[in-house]
């Protein structure tokens, strides 16, 4: 049952990601990305990360994508967006590069389980990062699997061992607020020049 769910949602997530890239209209792209985020929330539930699943829906699909949709509507890019006309020769190279990356990532991912946990004789030690680290003892794994991901456990770790990064995050968010406010502020000097030039029909250089 879990496998069926995984396969169905995986197909849906890949399809929505593909549609997001292919869509010309930025609005449709954003909506397909929201669908993709919901698929990832399902994966988090399957993996036992219930807290992250809720955060994924609330923060990503809720806050971030609403902000993005807001900007798309504000800018009305649907009419302003040009076709990808100047890609030319660059397009096949982009596809090839992405396919090479795909091959590498899938090869490494598929190797993960089959790779020996101990380095094989003759294999360079520098490759050790590809092989899985020796897993914790069976008791640790089973105990972890039962409780991992529950909000209480996440909070216990977040507010003890990761307290300092957590506080740094708040400073980062404060900086982002200030930066966004200053950047999006109306600046009459630059806007007037550009707007007058556009009205006169010449391209700003």
């Amino acid at each position: 049952m879990e496998l069926v769910t995984f396969l169905a949602v995986a197909a849906l997530s890949v399809a929505s990601a593909l549609m997001m890239i292919v869509q010309r209209n930025a609005m449709y792209s954003a909506l397909f990305l929201v669908l993709n985020f919901f698929c990832l929330a399902v994966f988090y539930v399957l993996l036992g990360a219930y807290f992250l699943a809720v955060v994924q829906v609330a923060v990503y699909a809720g806050a971030i994508m609403v902000l993005m949709l807001f900007v798309i509507m504000l800018l009305n890019v649907a009419q302003a967006e040009p076709t990808d006309r100047r890609l030319g020769l660059f397009r096949p190279f982009g596809v090839i590069a992405a396919l090479i990356l795909l091959g590498e990532l899938v090869a490494v991912g598929a190797r993960y389980g089959s790779a020996p946990s101990a380095p094989v004789a003759g294999e360079p030690v520098s490759l050790a990062f590809v092989t899985p680290t020796p897993l914790p003892t069976a008791t640790a794994v089973t105990a972890g699997a039962a409780t991992v991901g529950h909000t209480q456990e996440v909070a216990a770790v977040l507010f003890s061992r990761y307290l300092f990064p957590f506080e740094v995050t708040s400073i980062l968010l404060l900086g982002a607020i200030l930066g966004a406010t200053i950047l999006a502020r109306k600046r009459p000097d630059t806007e007037d020049v550009a707007h007058v030039a556009i009205v006169q029909g010449e391209r700003v250089k």
């Binding site: 036992g48 991912g109 991992v148 991901g149």
Partner: protein, 112 residues
């Protein structure tokens, strides 16, 4: 603290490799979006897709290792992504305001 009812524990039968492969596919799709699209907003969304692909592999590894650290990392990635979206969208709005375009080819004036 004891919960009044036991939380349902979903058996982990889907192998970690499946999640890693799916994560790789999603990451490559995001990379393809960054390389092939010219709209700044679509490129932005592709970056979000790549971040989410990495988050998925973080959570998969967290389950595999039976440790919470991966999930904490995902939490921080989400916070950084939120900050990045706020600043990035402000930049896009600023560019659109001065140039009336969201096409990254029209904003190449930083090129030497």
């Amino acid at each position: 603290m004891e919960l009044p009812f036991p939380l349902p524990t979903i058996p982990s039968r889907v192998p970690t490799e499946a999640y890693l492969i799916l994560s790789g596919i999603l990451f490559s799709l995001g990379c393809m979006g960054v390389l092939l699209r010219k709209s700044a907003l679509t490129i932005f969304m592709s970056i979000e897709l790549m971040l989410n692909a990495v988050n998925l592999s973080f959570v998969a590894f967290a389950r595999q290792l039976g440790q919470l650290d991966g999930q904490i990392f995902v939490f921080f990635v989400m916070a950084v992504a939120a900050a990045e979206v706020a600043v990035g969208l402000a930049i896009i709005i600023d560019i659109f305001r001065s140039r009336r375009t969201a096409d990254i080819d029209d904003v190449s004036w930083l090129k030497g």
